[in-house]
Symmetry: D2
Subunit: 336 residues, 4 copies
């Protein structure tokens, strides 16, 4: 599903053009039309249909690589490409927590791109490098956490997610497991959500990344939604804050991508809805072309300080769109 989103979102992109498609052995030598089981409601771009899928190894006919490989395959393959001199913009989880690997969210930590220099040095990568974007749930979440963290400080967060089936790829979740049902488990997901935000919100000091000191407890659930992860969240702040101040912090959040008007950047990073029953995945996932996080139900938390609901498009901002925005920032910073 994420591969298909890359193809969809890169179609007509002002800076990037798909010149090669690489995939697992099973698809090698087939055209993309033959190899893919297209599940998006927009058509496959004509030019891509007839492109032949090549093996997933260097050399590839391209200047940089977008990677969305399964965890087991990603670790080695991405390192190989970086070694061979390719910038690897990865949506995979393998290298996310690696020392010197930026876990990049351009609105939040654009300065983390500097970690690339040390990465090249320590890994002996030459021109190549690896940059990652977070897990889909983390990304929806962290866009809302960042402005609150900066303004008031966040000590701890409880989060409980209701995640879309597209997050599990295709065929992914069996229909018998999700029609009239909830699955209260997603393999490896809670670990990611509990550890990635601290790195993303971390600060570079003397080339060293100091993680944000924030405790997170996550419950990850799968529900019968095609696209869009909905997250219930309660926060313990370091500094007392009125709800109106929090809303203002969320709504005024802007970053480098907005300043630079990067092609995939949403105008409004965090959209705050004031209706009592929003955000909802069917209605709000396409907000900002799927690149915004949508917050609603902002209210006092009876134990800690504040609670709310946040929603993000898991295969756009939570995956392919995140990687493309990363690439747009990297291009601007001269890394592509």
């Amino acid at each position: 599903m994420v591969g298909q989103r890359f193809v969809q979102l890169l179609d007509g992109h002002p800076q990037f053009e798909i010149t090669a498609l690489a995939a697992s052995d099973r698809s090698e030598g087939k055209t993309y039309l033959e190899a893919t089981n297209w599940k998006l409601s927009t058509p496959i771009p004509e030019r891509i249909k007839t492109m032949v899928v090549t093996p997933c190894q260097p050399p590839l006919e391209c200047d940089m690589v977008f990677s969305s490989l399964p965890g087991n395959m990603a670790r080695e393959t991405e390192s190989l490409f970086a070694q061979a001199g390719y910038p690897v913009i990865s949506n995979s989880s393998s290298h996310r927590m690696g020392v010197d690997v930026p876990l990049l969210v351009p609105e939040i930590n654009p300065d983390h791109v500097k970690m690339i220099d040390r990465q090249r040095h320590t890994q002996g990568y030459g021109r190549g490098y690896i940059v990652t974007n977070p897990n889909c749930t983390t990304l929806a979440l962290v866009l809302a956490l960042a402005p609150i963290e900066r303004t008031f400080g966040i000590e701890a967060a409880f989060i409980s997610s209701m995640q879309a089936i597209s997050g599990a790829g295709y065929p992914g979740v069996a229909s018998l497991d999700i029609v009239d049902n909830v699955i209260p488990f997603i393999d490896g997901e809670e670990d990611k959500v509990e550890t990635e935000p601290q790195k993303i919100l971390g600060k570079l000091q003397d080339g060293q990344l100091i993680f944000a000191p924030m405790q997170i407890s996550a419950h990850c659930n799968r529900v019968a939604v095609t696209d869009g992860h909905t997250i219930s969240i309660s926060l313990k702040l370091r500094k007392k804050a009125e709800l109106t101040e929090i809303q203002a912090a969320l709504e005024s959040f802007r970053g480098v991508p907005q300043e630079l008007r990067l092609p995939s950047a949403p105008n409004q990073v965090v959209v705050v809805r004031t209706e009592r029953d929003r955000p909802q995945p069917r209605l709000d996932r396409d907000c900002g072309n799927g690149m915004s996080s949508v917050v609603g139900r902002l209210r006092k938390d009876p134990i800690w300080d504040v609670k709310f609901t946040v929603l993000g498009h898991n295969t756009v901002r939570g995956a392919a769109g995140a990687a493309i925005l990363n690439a747009e920032l990297l291009a601007h910073e001269g890394y592509l």
Copy 2:
């Protein structure tokens, strides 16, 4: 939906028999078959089909009243019946938090029935009285909280629910709001979940109910599930506990209904599943004929002490079944 569950669960009940059906003006004078829009998969009991629905006011041809009225109507109507000498076993929310009104869960607080004596006195009810059962989400939750509270003490709880559509009655939730969607809001629900458990787990001292000192923060969400509320929960305990000790406390939990073998009592109050992806509403809601709470994913909480998932059948144990079990206890205690 709850009315239909009453009719279904009381069919063939060893102690109770439906002798009268009362409803709103709209249904008066119709047979039950005409008045109801039956949505259960078992047939309407033959004897009930032809019963004529009477106005919802005393006198009624019966010894006691099961009530499942909408909040606005329940307050006055239930008081009227109590005043007229009827025991009112209510599933409505109006009187739940009333002083001297038991919020009864027979496995947890069977001694709270004694509050009836004072209620009769202060309200001048004579033979009549009002006994309530908790909100559907509260009930699934509190069956799992009680054994942990007793053994280790609970200081605070974060809960996030994924609730079934049957909880909203019929027609209730519009299909356009729930197909491919989540609604992160249920009117009044979070208040109930945040306040009822403390009363249920409270202690009677000198006729006075001392609420359990427990903080709860609730996020209530609606998902595309027909029956069965799924709840993610994190707990802060007063006493450190190993996961195995918590599991043992949950599994060994038994109460008066089990000792007395009350007809609707589940053998196992809390069923603990050890598979990594249970409980699930489609598979587990009928556990113990819908009268058990099912717990799974018991694990350490990275902020507090323990987190898990709990599931209960919202219209059986969470509504009609709860009221019927209450009546069975009240009958045994001589209050019927």
Copy 3:
């Protein structure tokens, strides 16, 4: 839902601009933002949000009226507006089968607009008139029937529909009726599907409309799909035809809207998919911006001649989009 689609599709329309919004008593005097329960994933156009809803009667501040009223209200109200001199472009069913009322599908029967002249005369309407578009299921169907009827003749058709919940409006279908369920009944729908195509495909002779002599048997079912009606169909032709000839007739079907490049006209009226499992509502409903019919599974029928599946977007081409395309044709023909 259809009213919302009108607002959505008319936003930015090159020819038409919303100048007034009229609705039932309940909404009068409210802003559109207050009056509507917006259920589309695009935002409400800013300009429309603050427009105040006026009573549904002449005079209205506009040159023509788009109507999507419930059947009971439509008959009288639409006549009143026509009487008052307004062209009424209606999506309602009341006047569809009226003598001298065009049941207009611009690709199929653009000459039926001439019926307006006689309508004005017999009804004494002056400048006003009523033009209708078909039922949502009929429209998806008839776009595929028309090229086959013209080339080979159609004697009879069996159709069985699987219709989306948006077709029932909001709140419409109760969620308990559609989650894990099918409803094999839609009030009044089968009659419409069995009688409207003959009028649409009819021929004007000497100002008289001769209905196409075609027998239709329809089964209409509701399924858990948000948008997009899927229809299984078997046809008895008047002239034998190879599947390739039928496919060619479908794919080459073009009409006046395509020639005139009307703003809402799809490039391809009928899209034929050759994959074995298409069309599917989630993937194909937005084909041609929701204005095309999508046909698939074209194969021999073992009893009659040919069978296939056809899919159309029920609130776009099947409702608001149909009316807007009608208005575009009427404008071109000098009737607006």
Copy 4:
């Protein structure tokens, strides 16, 4: 899914007891608990949990074999078991249309068991033999067709199905293919539905099976329903019939299983609902413990004679329950 239904339905069966479980290589040597991915809402019978799965080949510790193998594997394996002297009661499709293989529906063609004698002879099977039950859609359908065929004769039938996801096994249909979607294709299904009824309704003459001369055209669709196939059907009769006569024929239909009171036989073979919106899968699939067919919306067909909706439980009467009822008949007839 069908294997699990066998285990569920045979638990506590008065005549049959599971003594061995055989499956593919992947499961060999595991306990049933380890090998299965149990998806039913009743628990796995305790005795079965610890049974070890053996290879799927003779000899097996049993007197007869229930088979529900995938098509490719069934042909050879079932023949091997029959050769080795085992009665094979099969739910697989491989041998259904085989000469001398009964396609048995005990209410309809109990005399077809006599085909076993010739099968044993021609195949040299000794004690062994193969008996099959129809496809799940065919079975729901043919229970309603049989009484109409016998009373009025059926010349032709159009059917369009909306089939449950459990019919595709597990993991079967991907959730992304069915949430907010319809799949208008089920591999091989239409062929089965168009050809099996004629064999089932056929007559044995001098040991030769004469197929019923009936034309069927089928459209098979998959929808988001867990269990229960819903079928729209139009019929051309040989003899004119009033709707009341057809209803009477359906409701009075009884067969050998009802006379013999076979353990799995439903009291009422075909249940006719007169509400305008029934049958519905969620409400009616468990009718007669899932062994009845439920008919509703009986009405005149504008082209042929009569049309209606029929619903059956696809994994109970449509699969495991059908085979078990077959075995019960075979036991009574002395074939076990």
